[in-house]
């Protein structure tokens, strides 16, 4: 049985058949060509080294994407360790609401623009990016992973080694800050 899989498993075929899909997945997360292609290479090498562990229950692509996810998480962990994000404090949410009755201090208004046209608007994304960069570091980091890179909550918790409660608080604060920044700089 194992022989059968080795026979049909050739890393060069994987690259031909799944290279673009792996690269897209890596680019979406890393948003950097060098990092993304390194991740694809590491994934294929790791897949080759462990090809006997491929059970054949999932498709080759699903299996490869699974390995890529792990490689990406390893990469992020390293990066976070380097940036030493863990120590950085995050913002105070009490500034958003009246401490007496919990009502909005700065009331949100309706945004009229249509999401479909905004998502094609590079100017809007520039404003969005600079608003995100103005957030406290920890909020910015998790918010970018969640929304700019499209990671799922549980992936972010694993990478940053935080609880889901902690993540939810950070995302909540990030959304409060980002929304107000967009209100002032775009939807005015």
């Amino acid at each position: 049985m194992v022989g059968f899989f080795i026979g049909t498993m050739n890393p060069k075929d994987w690259l031909d058949e799944h290279g673009d899909a792996l690269y897209r997945f890596a680019m979406q997360r890393a948003q950097n060509e060098e990092v993304a292609s390194d991740l694809v290479q590491e994934t294929l090498l790791a897949a080759w080294k462990n090809h006997t562990s491929f059970s054949g229950e999932s498709s080759v692509r699903t299996w490869l994407i699974g390995i890529l996810k792990h490689k990406w998480i390893d990469h992020l962990r390293k990066e976070i360790r380097q940036r030493n994000q863990a120590e950085i404090a995050d913002g105070d949410p009490t500034a958003w609401f009246d401490p007496q009755n919990g009502a909005w201090l700065n009331q949100p208004h309706q945004w009229r623009d249509d999401p479909a046209s905004l998502c094609q608007d590079d100017q809007f994304f520039k404003v969005l990016k600079s608003c995100a960069e103005a957030l406290p570091d920890k909020q910015q980091l998790v918010f970018e992973m969640r929304e700019f890179q499209g990671l799922e909550s549980d992936e972010i918790c694993k990478v940053c080694d935080i609880s889901s409660t902690n993540l939810h608080v950070l995302l909540h604060r990030a959304r409060l800050g980002l929304r107000l920044c967009l209100d002032k700089n775009w939807f005015k």
Partner: protein
Amino acid sequence: MKHSCEKISVLISEELERELTLVERISMHFHFLMCGACKHYNDNIQKLHRIFKMRLKKKYQTMTLPSEKRDIIKAALRKETLNS
């Protein structure tokens, strides 16, 4: 107001991260009936989330692995498979 806007705003964000309980959903939508600010906040946050999703999909769906990168990977694979 039974539920303060501060508490509702937490639920609005968490709805994007986890499944809210029935009670949470009802209290949130009931609050929206009385509070325009929270309803707008919910619309803003949902809209933003949708924009990000659409952008990700659009930006990456046609991307391909550059051929020079492909060659580098191919060489690395060849070296590795010959070694084993």
